[in-house]
């Protein structure tokens, strides 16, 4: 730091002895914008550990036979800097082998929010000790997953499974046709609904602006996914027509201060519907990618 001959270099020392693998998935053609992603599953093949290695491990480290496997989404920004987002993390046993499934829906949702042309989907898989610390077990050294490309020989190669719905058939239709009455068969849409504040008794002499506003409402029904999908996600409720994006409403009210009236602005959240969508009760709302 104090030498005149060297420039200071800021850096980070990562003290973990985790093994890391970077998985690359070309996605552009696989998930067009007119499809809604329900779930993305990453399948990794855990290689069996040789018996001799297991026996040695059991003698040296009797306490734990598990390692923590973490999946992160890697985003390489335009300026070259990297950023990772935690997607899924779980413990796996060294005694197990075969396919392991990780829910990476959030990573694919993040990837979809990137500007075009989009980089491939990058998933970083790391295998770490179950617990940090020098006395922790070293089972993580025995956990191996089959890799992508020629090195893995194609056998047990990592797979990305995408479950999606065609929005043209399963999504909402935008704004309702004002000429057509809403019936049981109407597809989910946004209908105009005017709230007349001037006509509300309690708002008299209190709400000064606006005299009323277009709130909109979501009406109609949603097509349900085919049977096999419902079977795979039994925890999800039926798809319903709901307000998926809302906006606030500013109002000017009169408040009394020291016996005298004064005008004040307040913003009421979620008062106007901007967009209606079909969504299942229990389905996670995709997180917005932060800049």
């Amino acid at each position: 730091r104090f030498s005149q001959n060297f420039r200071e270099v800021a850096g980070r020392l990562l003290g973990s002895d985790a093994s890391r693998h970077l998985l690359v998935f070309a996605m552009e053609q696989r998930l067009p914008p007119d499809r809604e992603l329900l779930q993305a599953v990453l399948r990794l093949f855990q290689e069996p550990v040789p018996e001799a290695a297991l026996r040695t491990h059991g003698r040296l480290s009797p306490r734990s036979h598990r390692a923590r496997v973490t999946v992160e989404w890697l985003h390489v920004r335009d300026d070259g800097s990297n950023r990772t987002s935690l997607i899924d993390s779980r413990l796996v046993s060294v005694h197990e082998s075969g396919w392991k499934a990780f829910d990476v829906t959030e990573a694919v949702n993040f990837w979809r929010q990137l500007g075009r042309p989009r980089q491939p989907l990058l998933l970083q898989v790391s295998v770490q000790r179950e617990q940090p610390g020098p006395r922790a077990a070293s089972a993580h050294r025995l956990v191996r997953f089959a890799s992508q490309g020629p090195a893995g020989g194609g056998r047990g190669e990592p797979q990305l499974e995408l479950h999606s719905l065609d929005l043209g058939r399963y999504g909402a239709q935008g704004d309702c046709d004002p000429e057509a009455p809403v019936t049981e068969g109407t597809r989910c849409c946004r209908r105009e609904m005017y709230i007349d504040l001037e006509g509300l008794k309690w708002a008299e002499n209190w709400v000064l602006e606006p005299p009323g506003f277009l709130a909109y409402e979501c009406v109609g029904t949603c097509r349900q996914p085919p049977e096999p999908l419902s079977f795979k996600w039994p925890f999800l409720g039926p798809r319903q027509c709901i307000a998926s994006e809302t906006t606030s409403l500013p109002v000017i009210v009169s408040v009394k201060e020291g016996g005298r009236p004064r005008a004040q602005v307040v913003s009421l959240p979620d008062m106007r519907v901007q967009k209606c969508s079909c969504a299942s009760d229990g389905a996670p709302v995709p997180r917005k990618l932060e800049p």
Partner: protein, 55 residues
């Protein structure tokens, strides 16, 4: 969106437990100052641009 929801939201934002008692005489002479109107218009414009994700 119901009338009760609008009233509930308004009371919550103003930290009130009930609708304030204001009569015509109170409000009749009230002029909305320019800075309050400007703040209202700015919020109105902003609300058209920013949407929040539904629950």
């Amino acid at each position: 969106l119901t009338e009760e929801q609008i009233l509930g939201s308004l009371l919550q934002q103003l930290h009130l437990s009930e609708v304030p008692a204001l009569d015509q005489g109170d409000v009749g002479q009230l002029v909305i100052p320019a800075h309050v109107r400007a703040q209202y218009v700015a919020l109105l414009q902003r609300s058209h641009g920013t949407h929040s994700r539904g629950k």
